[in-house]
């Protein structure tokens, strides 16, 4: 896997002593032009009849992140909670970026059982089978890419990207992203879409902070 989460500590620009740096914002739109059809179930040759329809994951969702994080990015921070739902035989969202230490809840919104598991090096887990309305949780302490599957429904899969710093953002339905509280400096931005890094750009946030717009096209 690409050096997705091998972040380097970069010493920030020297600010005037006693004066807090002006933080900036990086935002933009990721235009995904890749052909990404819905993941199909394996051929259901052994079944008597077609499988029930299920939702298709939104494979166009991307994560924009800093390959090199500013000083202070690794300082102790809150450990939030996040959620990766099982809904209509699909994981929602398809890609979930979190910071190390995050506890991710896996609520089952379907009537059927699911068995969420991962064999990824960053985090191996198996939640067993549990029914609708219940949830189980996993804390992600190691940076890396975690592929999540359901042991019962082979078409269900999702990604959890675990970062060691907080400078990342997932795109919304329109492809827009926003990373706030960025100290002045030059950073390498990477766009991760459907399993790998697709585009990289260098972006500069000036001493005055402000907003920097950086759009991406993934094709």
């Amino acid at each position: 896997m690409a050096p997705l989460l091998l972040t380097l500590l970069v010493v920030g620009a020297q600010a005037n002593p006693g004066e807090a740096p002006r933080l900036g914002t990086i935002r933009g739109v990721v235009d995904v032009r890749l052909d990404l059809p819905a993941t199909a179930q394996r051929p259901s040759v052994s079944e008597i009849g077609a499988a029930a329809p299920h939702d298709a994951p939104d494979r166009r969702r991307s994560v924009v992140y800093f390959e090199t994080a500013p000083q202070g990015a690794f300082e102790d921070h809150e450990r939030p909670r996040a959620s990766l739902e099982q809904k209509n035989e699909s994981f929602v969202p398809y890609v979930l970026p979190v910071i190390t230490g995050t506890i991710v809840d896996f609520p089952n919104r379907d009537r059927t059982f699911h068995n969420v598991f991962s064999l990824s090096k960053a985090q191996r887990f198996d939640l067993g089978r549990y029914a609708a309305g219940r949830f189980k949780s996993v804390r992600f302490d190691h940076a890396g890419v975690v592929r999540v599957f359901c042991d019962i429904h082979s078409h269900m899969n999702a990604f959890i990207l675990v970062f060691a710093h907080r400078f990342f953002a997932a795109t919304d339905e329109s492809g827009a992203y926003r990373i706030d509280n960025v100290p002045p400096g030059t950073y390498n931005l990477a766009v991760w879409t459907d399993g790998r890094v697709r585009v990289e750009r260098s972006v500069r946030v000036g001493e005055e902070g402000g907003t920097v717009t950086q759009d991406f096209v993934v094709e």
Binding site: D35, I48, A50, F113
Partner: protein, 402 residues
């Protein structure tokens, strides 16, 4: 059991060629991003290695043993809209010529309703294990006795009397009888899981209640591509899912199993049928999965000479298996299995018409990768007859799928 006749083989390959021809066209026709026609392909390689099975406990026909098997499967599903799909599986065992294990058309006439019709070489309706994939859905390596063990019943030959039948006890892997085909050949399992029958099946409903029924050429123990006796089998299953994680199924099957070639030699008119009732249960919660199936059935047998075989050949088989997910990717499993037979009376008294078998098996499975799994299993068999009365075997399996 050799079934392929030249005509059937040509028909079979013709259907396969048609399926893949349609597939090639589908690739060209598919629009983006959600094609109206879509081809989905999957595959599986499973290699199993075990010791010599001197008791032939795991034989599935004269030349194949489940503990010493290399299987390559290619699965394909060609979907045309929401109503039609063509499904197939090409399979090769031990590097033999690939055969169409499955090839059928699936039709959902009313897409908004749970009604499916499947036509061709179709998955079995009866029970639950017959639809499980060899490596994927079986937490152990061996199959349940009812779905694999070769009894001494043949579809192409019958014993002249009870003594002749009793002389074959425990030798179902290779039997010979005096009426019908004189060739040595393997007998039939209660339910054949190594090949599928040909016919038409319908499934109605969805959870919590689902019913399926099929009319096919062969029988549970002897699925066929072409009919050899002018009789059809009717099989049915009613499945109930009262709560998530719990599945209950009740099955029935009735069909003629003796071939016309044998019936022509008999003074007693047929038909001679195999009949079976089945009950299957599956319950899962947390890290546990438990399954059990019971099959009660019989084969009707002609009474030719004294000492006569009076009445059908009864059979009962039960298994219980469990799987525990000990850690991510690590499974522990075990199965207890029993295959028992009814009595017939020969010159030396009453005895079970075949030798009962008991089997226990325990296995450990580990996923090296999501698509790569290894298993190790130890199996012990006891049999009240045959040349080998008991044997323990350790086997390993590697499975790769996509």
């Amino acid at each position: 059991m050799c079934l392929a006749r030249p005509t059937a083989r040509r028909l079979r390959w013709g259907l396969v060629a048609l399926g893949f021809g349609l597939a090639a066209q589908a690739e060209e026709a598919a629009p983006s991003p959600e094609p109206a026609v879509r081809l989905i392909v999957g595959g599986e390689l499973t290699g199993t290695l075990g010791p010599e099975d001197y008791g032939f406990f795991n034989d599935v026909d004269y030349q194949r043993n489940l503990l010493r098997l290399f299987r390559a499967s290619l699965l394909a599903e060609l979907r045309a809209g929401t109503r039609f799909a063509l499904l197939g599986e090409l399979r090769s065992d031990n590097l033999d010529t690939p055969q169409a294990y499955a090839l059928y058309l699936r039709v959902r006439p009313l897409p908004a309703h749970a009604l499916d019709v499947q036509l061709g070489r179709i998955p079995p309706v009866f029970g639950a294990f017959g639809r499980r994939r060899y490596g994927q859905d079986n937490p152990l390596i061996g199959s349940p006795l009812g779905y694999q063990y070769l009894t001494t019943v043949r579809p192409d030959a019958v014993p002249a009397n009870a003594d002749e039948m009793l002389a074959q006890r425990g030798e179902g892997w290779l039997t010979q009888y005096s009426v019908g085909s004189s060739a040595y050949d393997a007998g039939l399992p209660v339910v054949e899981s190594m090949r599928w029958d040909t016919g038409i099946e319908v499934r109605v409903g969805e959870e919590p209640l689902e019913w399926s029924v099929a009319v096919t050429q062969g029988t549970l123990g002897n699925p066929r591509f072409s009919d050899d006796n002018g009789g059809k089998q009717v099989s049915t299953r009613l499945a109930w899912y009262p709560t998530p994680g719990l599945q209950l199924g009740g099955s029935f099957a009735l069909g003629e199993y003796l071939s016309d070639d044998v019936e022509r030699l008999l003074a007693q008119p047929g038909p001679f049928r195999q009949q079976a009732f089945g009950l299957d249960v599956e319950y899962s919660w947390g890290r546990f999965l438990v399954r059990s199936e019971t099959i009660v059935g019989h084969w009707e047998m002609p009474a030719i000479d004294a000492p006569r075989i009076d009445g059908p050949l009864d059979v009962v088989t039960v298994f219980v298996e469990g799987r525990y997910r000990a850690a991510p990717g690590l499974d522990l499993a075990a199965r207890v299995d029993r295959l028992a037979f009814g009595n017939i009376t020969g010159s030396n008294g009453s005895e079970t018409w075949d030798a009962p078998v008991t089997r226990v098996e325990a296995a450990v499975g580990y996923a090296l990768h999501r698509h790569v799994q290894v298993k190790a299993a130890y199996q012990y068999n006891w049999r009240d007859g045959g040349s080998v009365h008991s044997q323990g075997m350790l086997a390993g399996q590697l499975r790769v799928w996509f």
